[in-house]
């Protein structure tokens, strides 16, 4: 990336939203790896250590116990294809600082889109109002915390031209049309994101992160004898431009065509309770909905989760190990450091069938008097950090997928999903199955489609009676919503048998 900004503009090869701030760091960046020197981040946001300390002092001025500042600069670019042409582009630039003050478990929060000392001090004073006593804050000092490095990239999206991205989006359209004569429409989207963040708190911790993200998605619509069906395939990673390859285009095109083709033969199963075999990969949505959300410690701290009294108790068969992991390389759910400045980690939620850890933010880890788990995440500087999942998955069991299917008299096998939801307190969770198969007498028979499956978290967890050794992470565009905030996550699972869930269908 030794082409200057000016050259980009001259060649017109500009990443639309890439260069809006023109920070010194970006102008001088000739290296692939992001510098570990915190100064480049201070320069990026045009702040000094002195200003950070003054703003934190203002935030603590009403007697707060703790304050933090979260600066963020995010640029996103989206290229879209419809009716055979890459004929639309969208971009967004978002920039600002969120200022949070804690008093016990109480939160004061304000943000500013302008990073002048005056604007930041104003926001700090607003957030300070959560407390109302004399301040004994003496200043928190300054200690740089070097974040981990789970998503090193070769080429930053900010430095990639629209021109260089277009051919990949075009190719996927052409390939999908060439794979099957039934294809009547293709939509494809390439979304890339580059986010810089800088964090400083009243304990003096100063840290930073650079978070790249890319999602490549394709929708295929087919028509056969008047019947229209559509499906969707996507891959998403914390990777740079090197993510886009001919192999990826081929993989996505094949996948979406296969997924759409199945639907023409698919039926709806008989409605009711039955065994469900969850195929390896995207079936991790089961963990995310049935267990993950209900393990988030804010709900448990308030007693509103169905797992509120279950810490240290046996909640699953002994072979069940469930993990929430922020350290998988290039994974969409990974973070080098969480949004409260804490190390991310691989956290065992369930170990040998026993509930081992909740998913913590700062407030809840203080409440439970445990070490932070690095799950304090926020959608942007406009939001407060709360306990959120990262990549949630289960470790391998010892069976094979074939063994598991063989065990089912009548049930369903599911491996392609679109969305899910959970009621934290009641424990009822759902996931929507785009496609799968009926299982009859131990064999996969007819395809099924478009059915919702519903279960109860603790029961479903206890009902995982077999697991295969074919674990896979699903690298789709999973987005998790909670309290009005969306964050990217992933999930994974080996093939498992859930003894009984309620399957939508016809009676």
């Amino acid at each position: 990336m030794d082409i200057s900004r000016r050259n980009f503009l001259q060649t017109g090869g500009v990443a639309v939203a890439g260069s809006i701030i023109l920070p010194p760091f970006m102008q001088s960046c000739h290296k692939i790896q992001i510098s570990s020197n915190v100064k480049v981040y201070l320069d990026h946001f045009e702040v000094s250590a002195d200003i950070l300390q003054k703003v934190v002092a203002a935030a603590m001025s009403k007697g707060g116990d703790y304050a933090d500042l979260y600066f963020e600069h995010k640029t996103t670019n989206n290229l879209g294809l419809e009716d055979g042409e890459v004929n639309r582009a969208f971009s967004n630039v978002d920039f600002g600082v969120g200022i949070r003050v804690l008093k016990g478990d109480q939160t004061g929060f304000a943000y500013s889109e302008t990073i002048t000392p005056e604007a930041m001090l104003n926001a700090a004073k607003m957030a300070a109002n959560i407390a109302n006593t004399n301040s004994s804050f003496k200043g928190g000092g300054l200690a740089e915390k070097i974040p981990s490095d789970y998503y090193r990239i070769a080429q930053k999206w900010e430095d990639v031209s629209v021109k260089d991205k277009v051919p990949f989006v075009q190719k996927i359209n052409d390939r999908v049309f060439s794979l099957d004569k039934k294809v009547i429409r293709v939509n494809a989207y390439l979304n890339d994101e580059s986010a810089y963040s800088l964090f400083y708190n009243s304990e003096g911790r100063l840290t930073y992160d650079y978070r790249p993200m890319v999602s490549f998605s394709v929708v295929c619509v087919m028509e056969k004898d008047g019947q229209i069906e559509n499906s969707y395939s996507a891959r998403s990673f914390r990777k740079g431009f090197e993510f886009l390859t001919a192999g990826l285009v081929e993989e996505l095109a094949q996948d979406v065509v296969n997924k759409t083709n199945i639907l023409f033969e698919a039926i709806k199963p008989k409605a009711g309770e039955m065994p469900v075999v969850m195929g390896a990969g995207g079936s991790g949505i089961l963990l995310h909905e049935a267990i993950g959300h209900t393990f988030e410690a804010d709900f448990n701290r308030k007693g509103t989760s169905i797992f509120s009294d279950k810490m240290g108790k046996k909640v699953a068969e002994s072979f069940v190990n469930i993990i929430d992991d922020g350290t998988l390389e290039h994974n969409r759910g990974s973070i080098n450091i969480d949004d409260e400045g804490n190390d991310t980690q691989k956290t065992y939620l369930v170990k040998d069938g026993v509930l081992n850890s909740y998913i913590h933010d700062r407030i809840s880890s203080n409440f439970y008097k445990v070490a932070p788990t690095g799950n304090g995440r926020r959608e942007s500087f406009r939001h407060i950090p709360i306990p959120r999942m990262r990549a949630t998955y289960m470790e391998n069991g010892s069976a094979t997928k074939e063994d598991i299917i063989k065990d089912v008299g009548y049930g369903v096998y599911v491996d392609n999903f679109s969305n899910g939801e959970v009621k934290i307190g009641a424990g009822d969770f759902t996931f929507f199955v785009k496609s799968g198969y009926l299982i009859e007498k131990g064999k996969l028979t007819q395809p099924i489609k478009d059915i919702n499956i519903i279960g109860n978290g603790p029961q479903a967890l206890a009902d995982i009676t077999m697991a295969a050794s074919d674990f896979a992470i699903d690298n789709g565009t999973w987005m998790c919503g909670k309290d009005g905030q969306s964050v990217p996550v992933t999930c994974g699972l080996p093939s498992v048998l859930v003894k009984k869930l309620t399957v939508g269908g016809i009676s």
Binding site: N87, T107, K302, K423, G505
Partner: protein, 438 residues
């Protein structure tokens, strides 16, 4: 930013884009304010305050199109941003259907006063907001020994937008919003079912501030003992506040983009009967203080009152300028304003009393609808109805079917349309719904 400042900046941005090589440009600038108070256990849990601004620009360059937004509004950066955006647009493929709207369709002023903005927004004391949240919580807190948690939230917001286009549109809107919400969780052996209730208003002095905590508590206690009932085909009543979940796919199927991209189960159905004769639905943008009211839409097109369904016959799609050109149809508007049902005679209680057996759905849990085919499956909770009475709380069940058939099976429309939402949904009764349970 004042309205005039926003107009000045919007016009400046538009001129920058034209100078950089765009032939047509649309710019909108928004800024909004909000504040919120969350209370739990008669203690403030969270205080938040926010002010934000955004500029969005649509560029039409050599028959190519792109759209961009930023919250960095200083002119030096904006000028650079816009010039780069125009350059980048040139690398896209041509799209002859992309133009600004026909100027003759723009709103040109002189519309009715829709009363969407509380001019006293800035004058409400923070302590008043805090007190409202405390009082709402205290209605429920400690009122039943099964309560495990009560939280309340006060929220207010105000946003204002100006819009200009290079072919002559100029318009601005401003609106305010206040809400008060209480959520109650109760203990039911291991489960802790929760329910919430909220009230909202455009004007502070119209915000209902009492009864919210009590209603939330009543609804949470109503969920005690929820269980599945056996799978069966039964009539289903959907409570007015939950109807949006099943109305959504029907409206989405009328969207120009869905129709053109074959992601609709209502293609080529204009003038045809696609739903029960009980379904008469109007898109009415002119309701005073209606949540979806507007004099012009996102493109600047002048609003019109339009029939969507008349006795089950499809009368209009939602078509914007772009898909109008692609589909060779007149643009209506790409989005809904206020959706108004022709009401029936019966209240929700009356609908329930009319059934020998069925299920009243009071909430959905996940699920989805296939846009191309209309096949749907959703998780539900609510109550079993036997001999006209609610007899058991149910949950953990799914409904599964096809939207085309579901709306043909609409048997009754309630008289209880809500007025606190742009989609003014009443409770609806459908026949022959497949429920999966135990």
């Amino acid at each position: 930013m004042t309205k005039e400042e926003k107009y000045t900046l919007a016009k400046w941005a538009m001129e920058q884009a034209l100078k950089s090589g765009a032939q047509q440009v649309g710019v909108s600038i928004s800024n909004d304010k909000s504040s919120s108070v969350d209370v739990r256990g008669q203690k403030i849990e969270k205080l938040e305050q926010a002010v934000q601004s955004n500029l969005s620009i649509s560029l039409y360059v050599d028959n190519k199109f792109s759209a961009h937004s930023t919250n960095r509004l200083n002119k030096k950066e904006l000028g650079h941003f816009i010039a780069e955006a125009v350059e980048a647009t040139k690398y896209l493929s041509e799209d002859k259907f992309r133009t600004l709207p026909d100027p003759s369709l723009y709103y040109k002023g002189g519309g009715v006063e829709l009363e969407m903005l509380d001019s006293g927004y800035e004058n409400i004391e923070p302590q008043t907001k805090i007190n409202l949240a405390f009082n709402a919580e205290s209605e429920a807190l400690g009122k039943d020994k099964r309560i495990v948690s009560v939280t309340s939230s006060y929220y207010d917001g105000m946003d204002s937008i100006v819009m200009v286009t290079s072919n002559g549109f100029k318009g601005d809107t401003a609106s305010s919003y206040y809400s008060l919400y209480v959520s109650v969780s109760v203990k039911d052996e291991d489960a802790r079912p929760s329910a919430g209730w909220n009230e909202s208003a455009i004007f502070f002095n119209k915000l209902k501030t009492t009864g919210i905590g009590l209603t939330a508590l009543k609804k949470a206690l109503g969920k005690l003992g929820q269980e599945k009932v056996p799978s069966a085909k039964m009539p289903m009543i959907v409570e007015n506040r939950s109807v949006g979940k099943i109305l959504g796919p029907l409206i989405s199927a009328l969207n120009g983009s869905s129709v053109h991209q074959k992601n609709s189960f209502l293609i080529n159905k204009l003038g045809k009967k696609v739903a029960s004769g009980k379904l008469t639905l109007v898109d009415d943008p002119f309701i005073v203080s209606g949540r979806g009211s507007r004099l012009f839409d996102r493109e600047g097109l002048a609003s019109k009152k339009r029939a969507v369904f008349e006795e089950g016959i499809l009368k209009n799609y939602f078509i914007d300028t772009y898909y109008g050109k692609k589909l060779e149809m007149e643009p209506t508007s790409g989005s809904t304003s206020n959706l108004v049902f022709k009401p029936g005679e019966e209240s929700l209680d009356g609908l329930v009393a009319s059934l020998g057996k069925g299920i009243l759905v009071t909430g959905f849990n996940g699920g989805n609808c296939n846009g191309s085919t209309g096949d749907f499956s959703y998780g539900i909770e609510g109550f079993l109805i036997e001999k006209g009475k609610l007899t058991r709380a149910v949950s953990g069940m799914n409904i599964t079917g096809n939207m085309k058939q579901l709306w043909m099976d609409l048997a009754e429309v309630g008289s209880d349309a809500r007025d606190d939402s742009a989609w003014r949904t009443p409770s609806l009764l459908f026949n022959n719904v497949d429920f999966s349970g135990s």
